[in-house]
């Protein structure tokens, strides 16, 4: 018999275990809107604590391939749905256990516990059947199926199941009657007394007509009994002593019924299910996802028909369409310099580049038809921050400190995303400083996206590639949100935007009526 062990769906080697998973998102999450993406993916799945999985990039290409294989298996719809329903059943089991722990009266606790174990049995049996019917190719799921089959056939599991079924049958055979008079309640066994409510309803049913006001009161649905109900239950237990003493024993004996590996599988599979569910939203809208080729020894990265996953989610929510963009680098290119009209999708392009690389590094499929991406050691971002009174150092000084900090930590294998930095100084200063910084980034050889209004950077050297946000040919106020590879043209269309908001001199004179 093969060994009854299985490690993890998320990492191939036990040594790579996600033991030191961070609870906080990396610093660049907010800038890249990855926080929004991960929030959307994990929404409604808080109980699994999935976020740390998304905060931990993988260290090597094989780790990424391990996850790609599992994703591929799960792209098969039947298996995907079956695993989802496994998750639902396990969730129901946890709810039942929570009741057990919340409740006060012993027989109530024990009954909820029995329900939980029964649900667990159902979950395991369905999973065994579903996985045996599935065509699996991933190392992760194949190993887990082997483990699960052994577990389900074990003596321990089958005796747990038969004991559970027997108790259920016994409890459902219990029937009793109450007699409440003055301040006393009498409890006895059920003796086939007739249903009086039914006979009352039957007697008066001939008068029924039309809708009437509802005089029924709402009873508390709180699962917690009051002390009177509990007192009654204690008396019922006296009437059926054998059944209740075996329930007592069952509760004490089976406290650790839940298999640890299955519990971990239940959590880890959610990483994949959650991501694929999110992907499905975009695929329904005709957008593409692909499994990127990962490179480590060169930087010829590309992605075709990529998009900003956070923005796209928002746009689809508002029934707007999503614009896709391409990028590609050939040796010795390293740096995208993005210029052009504001509001034209420059920041979105920068975010997309960062998002794609990050999502690829945690082994997920990424937006795009086809992609080759670089497995970076670190991602750094620098987006403009709001000025506040706590920072008396001044904005420009702060900007420079942050950039210095970033450049001293970055290596040639890092990715840098700079968005409209150095805006709080003169054009002259910005130009001087930008060139100095660009020098350093070129020297580093790191991949970089730099959104700027300084056209001069776009033609800085052989490492820089000029990308430009574009407008509609027939109307300069209409943005296409296409970012094209072409020389910077120095037009920013500011006046067109001022016209749009009616804040040019002429419009203002009209509006203020003077």
């Amino acid at each position: 018999m093969p060994p009854m062990t299985f490690h993890s769906l998320l990492v191939r080697n036990p040594e790579d275990a996600l033991t030191k998973t961070p609870l906080e998102a990396p610093g660049f999450f907010v800038d890249l809107n990855l926080d929004q993406i991960i929030d959307a993916i994990t929404a409604g799945k808080q109980e699994y604590g999935l976020k740390p999985f998304f905060y931990t990039p993988l260290q090597n290409v094989d780790g990424i391939t391990y996850r790609h294989e599992i994703f591929h298996d799960l792209e098969e719809r039947t298996l995907f749905e079956n695993l989802k329903s496994f998750g639902h059943t396990m969730r129901a089991m946890r709810d039942q256990l929570a009741q057990t722990n919340k409740l006060h009266y012993q027989y109530q606790k024990e009954r909820w516990f029995l329900e939980a174990v029964e649900t667990y049995g159902t979950a395991v049996n369905s999973l065994v059947r579903d996985l045996s019917l599935a065509e699996l190719n991933s190392r992760g799921l194949l190993a887990f199926r082997q483990f699960l089959t052994n577990y389900a056939n074990s003596e321990h599991f089958s005796s747990l199941q038969s004991e559970t079924e027997r108790l259920f049958a016994d409890l459902s055979s219990v029937k009793y009657c109450l007699r409440i008079k003055d301040l006393a309640i009498k409890v006895g066994k059920y003796e086939s007394e007739m249903d009086y409510t039914a006979s009352v309803e039957d007697t008066f049913s001939k008068f029924k007509q039309g809708a009437v006001k509802d005089y029924r009161v709402k009873f508390s649905e709180d699962p917690e009994m009051n002390h009177v109900e509990a007192g009654v239950l204690d008396l019922v237990a006296k009437l059926y002593p054998e059944v209740f003493s075996s329930l007592d024993r069952y509760y004490v004996r089976n406290g650790n019924y839940l298999n640890e590996t299955i519990a971990r599988f239940d959590r880890e599979i959610q990483f994949y299910l959650a991501y694929l569910e999110h992907v499905a939203i975009f695929r329904r809208a005709g957008l593409k996802f692909c499994y990127p080729e990962m490179c480590v020894d060169h930087k010829e990265v590309y992605d075709y028909e990529g998009f900003d996953l956070a923005l796209a989610h928002k746009l689809l929510g508002g029934r707007s369409s999503v614009v896709c963009n391409d990028f590609s680098l050939k040796e010795p290119e390293r740096i995208f310099v993005v210029t052009g009209p504001n509001q034209g999708g420059k920041t979105t392009f920068a975010r997309t580049f960062g998002q794609l690389h990050y999502l690829a590094s945690i082994g997920c499929p990424v937006p795009g038809r086809q992609a080759q991406l670089f497995l970076a050691d670190r991602v750094f971002t620098h987006f403009e921050k709001e000025e506040d009174l706590n920072n008396l150092r001044g904005k420009l000084h702060d900007d420079l400190l942050r950039i210095h900090d970033m450049l001293s930590q970055a290596t040639g294998n890092s990715i840098l995303i700079l968005n409209e930095i150095l805006t709080s100084t003169t054009l002259q200063d910005a130009l001087f400083l930008s060139k100095r910084i660009m020098d350093q980034i070129c020297h580093l050889g790191a991949l970089c996206v730099w959104v700027t209004f300084i056209d001069e950077l776009a033609s800085f050297g052989e490492q820089t590639v000029s990308m430009v946000s574009t407008v509609a040919l027939d109307d300069p106020t209409v943005r296409t949100f296409k970012i094209m590879r072409r020389p910077a043209d120095g037009l920013s269309y500011a006046i067109a935007i001022a016209e749009k908001y009616r804040v040019t001199y002429d419009r203002l004179k009209e509006r203020m009526g003077s």
């Binding site: 006895g188 504001n342 009174l389 904005k395 210095h404 006046i495």
Partner: protein, 500 residues
């Protein structure tokens, strides 16, 4: 009975609308720091301070002077003012402890709650009257004179005596005399309908009459139905009286609420004044000019929020814009430009709500709208780019523009390149000035500042953040035309080391 300590002829509206740009003003001028200093941790004082300060832009000259004189009285008699405030707070707090009676479904509870509250109120009103009798001679302002005179007039001894008579009477020590008629909607119908319940009981009783194995337990003694029926009749009798009495209690309560709200503003001013004095900062009662005039002159004007934040004296600025309507502030980064701009906005708001200003001397015309336009962080909703967002906000300001507005622009229009930003700034500022706006503009856009220096020499004041010869900043502004460079190069040297 009205307090009339905020307006000569009307109540201070705690519910009224705040300026549409309340959030922007609060954020840009760091107003929360000011409110906290006034409130000293008291939630109610915070709300009142916020409301008084932010709604100040709608005050006329007369109201400002009316409050200034009241505040001068307060500074002269701080302990009396704080005592008046405490009395109002105590009245409200004691009432709240009694309040459960008013939510009762039973008139008897409502009535006895109202009696308790009114007895307590009578005690409080007597204390107010006593202060009016003893202290009114120490107050000079019109506002306090009117207030004390009103208390003396309304709260005579004979009045208190008649109130106490009623309260004693309503306790019904000799029982309630009730007359009643039978109405249509009687509850007996339901009992009739519950005949079925009685039938079921007898049926169950029949079942259990057989001797079967069974267990019994009993619960504690409890029969309330008889007592309830009796007190219901009593409640019908006292219903209207209870209503009238509870309403009276509410009227008096609302007087205390108003008194607390209006005094609360002055207590907030006292709190703020105390902290600033302790830090060695000076304050002055500003000299407001009519909205149609143009004046902005100050000496030792400092950013009150920065001073509060640092807990020590901060650098003040001097300036006199005379009748000029445009002030352009340029110069070194971290040289005190933003701080100065904030001090302009804060002093205007302080003046307009009737407070002292954070300066040695301050005089300015009253404005009827204060607008801030500060550079903001990239919109995380991703709907618009930065420049777009800036112009959209500017458009929002124009939608709400008033006839004598004051605008504070901090690095506005810098989200595009300098050449275009300058052009847009020129167009907007020119149009604003031509419709009588006063504009303070902090900018590092040389093109723009220089352009105004050339074209509007006569109607603009230029201030510059200074830099000392050793490269250090003084944080003090002085009059001066824009210079053609900022100081990025030496910052680069500091941060990256001179050789890189």
């Amino acid at each position: 009975m009205k307090a009339f300590l905020m307006f000569r002829d009307r109540d201070f509206d705690l519910q009224g609308k705040l300026p549409w740009n309340e959030a922007a003003l609060t954020q840009d001028l760091e107003l929360t720091i000011l409110f906290n200093a006034m409130a000293l941790g008291d939630k109610f004082l915070f709300e009142g301070a916020k409301r008084a300060v932010l709604s100040g832009v709608k005050n006329d000259l007369d109201t400002i002077l009316y409050r200034q004189r009241i505040l001068q009285d307060c500074l002269k008699n701080p302990s009396v003012v704080r005592e008046l405030y405490t009395i109002a707070v105590e009245a409200i707090e004691s009432e709240r402890k009694n309040h459960w009676g008013f939510f009762s479904r039973y008139p008897s509870s409502i009535l006895s709650g109202a009696i308790d509250v009114l007895q307590m109120f009578v005690g409080v009103l007597k204390r107010l009257k006593k202060i009016a009798d003893e202290q009114s001679g120490n107050f000079d302002s019109e506002g306090f004179s009117t207030f004390f005179t009103m208390l003396k007039r309304e709260l005579g001894d004979a009045y208190f005596a008649s109130v106490e008579d009623h309260l004693r009477e309503l306790k019904f020590r000799e029982g309630v005399l009730v007359s009643a008629e039978l109405g249509k909607g009687n509850r007996g119908i339901k009992y009739v309908l519950r005949k079925a319940h009685e039938r079921r009981e007898s049926w169950i009783a029949r079942i259990f009459a057989k001797s079967l194995p069974a267990y019994t337990f009993a619960i504690g003694e409890r029969d309330e139905s008889g007592a309830r029926a009796l007190s219901e009749l009593r409640d019908r009798g006292i219903h209207l009286a209870a209503n009238a009495l509870a309403q009276s209690a509410d009227h008096i309560l609302s007087f205390f609420h108003m008194l607390r709200a209006e005094l609360g503003f002055y207590v907030g001013c006292l709190n703020l004044h105390g902290q600033l004095t302790q830090q060695g900062e000076l304050t002055t009662f500003p000299v407001p000019a009519a909205p149609g005039e143009r004046r902005h002159a100050f000496r030792g004007l400092y950013d009150v929020c920065l001073a509060l934040k640092l807990g020590r004296r901060v650098v003040g600025n001097d300036g006199d814009a005379g009748r000029k309507e445009l002030v352009i502030i340029t110069g070194a980064n971290q040289g005190g430009k933003s701080t100065f701009l904030r001090s302009i906005g804060l002093s205007q708001l302080m003046m307009q709500c009737g407070m002292f200003a954070s300066a040695e001397e301050f005089s300015a015309n009253v404005c009827d709208g204060l607008f801030t336009h500060y550079k903001r962080e990239e919109d995380t909703a991703m709907k618009s780019g930065k420049f777009d967002e800036e112009l959209s906000r500017m458009s929002g300001i124009v939608d709400n523009i008033t006839s004598n507005p004051l605008l504070l622009l901090n690095e506005s229009f810098a989200a595009t390149n300098e050449r275009e930003g300058s052009e847009i700034a020129k167009q907007i500022i020119c149009a604003l000035l031509e419709s009588r706006a006063k504009v303070f503009f902090v900018t590092h856009m040389y093109e723009c500042a220089h352009g105004f220096a050339e074209s509007r020499r006569e109607n603009a004041l230029f201030l510059r953040a200074e830099r000392q010869s050793d490269g250090g900043r003084t944080f003090k502004l002085s009059e001066g035309k824009p210079l053609k460079t900022s100081y990025g190069e030496d910052l680069y040297g500091t941060v990256f080391g001179a050789n890189r």
